[in-house]
Symmetry: C2
Subunit: 262 residues, 2 copies
């Protein structure tokens, strides 16, 4: 059984990848919808929230073999704090994604898009430079992409999202990047718009790269790959939004958690 | 001394109006930057946060003569809960704004833009219909406008904001509204873009209308109209963002509050 948490519902794109890779693994998902977004907040607040999220997941099951931190922001600024406080294996998105990006690039120029906190942390740049000291990185904070995706501005021909993406990607395009890290779980939903604005670039999906590294922890403990979903705000609208991120029509329910008590 | 609180820093547009109307009044401002936005959250969470915000303001000064709830979302869904729990006069933005809109309209068609929670509450529509039963209202939730303003997409010729505003206002324009309520403190910052998309409409600024009703509570207790600012996330970037909302270059500091303890 794998635990997954995210600042909101974007982490469901990682659930989708885990289910595709390991169809018989049970999962518990927590989305902190009552306190989303994390990416605009300070490091101290993000760490506090991340510790509460972990305590909640661990409280729900003794069967957890690992926890995937789907949130790019938490992976970038709070993974060390989580590892210091818990003994269970904790997988962030930064290292596996940076490793794949380094293997993928041919010209050594890697673009990174993420939340403000993720880019400010320099976590992707640090790992890439450890692996490939000559690599050049261009990190751009894209704070509007999360609200655009969450408000349904996701059609491939959406003019607003296209304009915003074009503006954010301009410095990455100008630098000649051949590889682009989608450093936030929301971004795969608009991968088509992103790819169209920077033709020929290899997109690296952080949720997918992190999911691949779960193999050693998979127990195949659920015939149907059951997922229990928890959120911290009213779950009434969960099924509708979840179906966008899971990219399937699903009638799924989430349970409400009072996360501040953890 | 007047207390003002908002989900974030948008309420500073109300501080600006109060200072203009009552230049010798002291103020205490709390912006819940650690938990912004409120407008996408459930009623229960918004009420809980609003009670904490009030308890904090009251704890900071025994001199408060009234509290202005600058937040359109709290004014729409939690004002009754605040009034049930505190004896100090509490002024929300909905009633004064609705009253001015009814006095302003000539054709009886009033548009309302606000957060998802504000529009879902129907608070403006209810008050308008009480005052003018024949009035027609068109309320449209505009969840992207807050992140656009907070991320600086505010220049009068910003193409992204113009496109988003155009899309949101289309049903209000089609209905023939001659009056438009800016039901969120962030919107006056892009009033020019809004006005250009719906020419000839009268814009009603909720922060200004609420500020006007403070006259009976003003004590002129501060020669310089001093304001103490408090926020719930890291205040490092406060001065920069505050100067956007106050529309002045100001070197101002905010103190950090652990709001969850209230």
């Amino acid at each position: 059984m794998i635990g997954i948490f995210d600042s909101g519902l974007g982490g469901l794109t990682a659930v989708k990848e885990i289910r595709r890779l390991f169809p018989n693994e049970g999962m518990i998902y927590f989305g902190d919808t009552g306190r989303v977004p994390y990416g605009t907040r300070s490091k101290e607040i993000i760490r506090k929230y991340a510790l509460q999220d972990m305590r909640f997941l661990i409280s729900k099951s003794k069967e957890l073999s690992a926890v995937l931190v789907a949130c790019g922001t938490v992976s970038s600024v709070a993974l060390d704090a989580l590892k210091d406080n818990f003994s269970i294996p904790i997988i962030g998105v930064v290292n596996p994604t940076a490793e794949t990006a380094v293997k993928t690039t041919k010209n050594g120029i890697i673009g990174i898009i993420g939340t403000s906190a993720t880019i400010k942390s320099g976590a992707y740049e640090k790992r890439i430079t450890e692996l490939a000291p000559a690599a050049k990185t261009v990190g751009i904070p894209c704070p509007l992409l999360v609200p655009l995706v969450e408000n349904g501005f996701i059609a491939p021909d959406n003019e607003v999202t296209r304009l915003v993406v074009k503006q954010y990607l301009a410095p990455i395009k100008a630098a000649g990047a051949d590889t682009l890290i989608l450093g936030c779980t929301h971004y795969p939903i608009i991968a088509g718009i992103i790819a169209a604005e920077i033709p020929g670039v290899a997109l690296i999906n952080s949720g997918l790269e992190a999911a691949k590294t779960l193999a050693p922890y998979v127990k195949n403990d659920s015939k149907c790959g059951d997922v229990r979903y928890f959120v911290s705000d009213n779950p009434d609208n969960f099924s509708h939004i979840a179906s966008i991120f899971l990219e399937e029509k699903a009638d799924i329910v989430a349970e409400k958690v009072d996360i501040e008590n953890y």
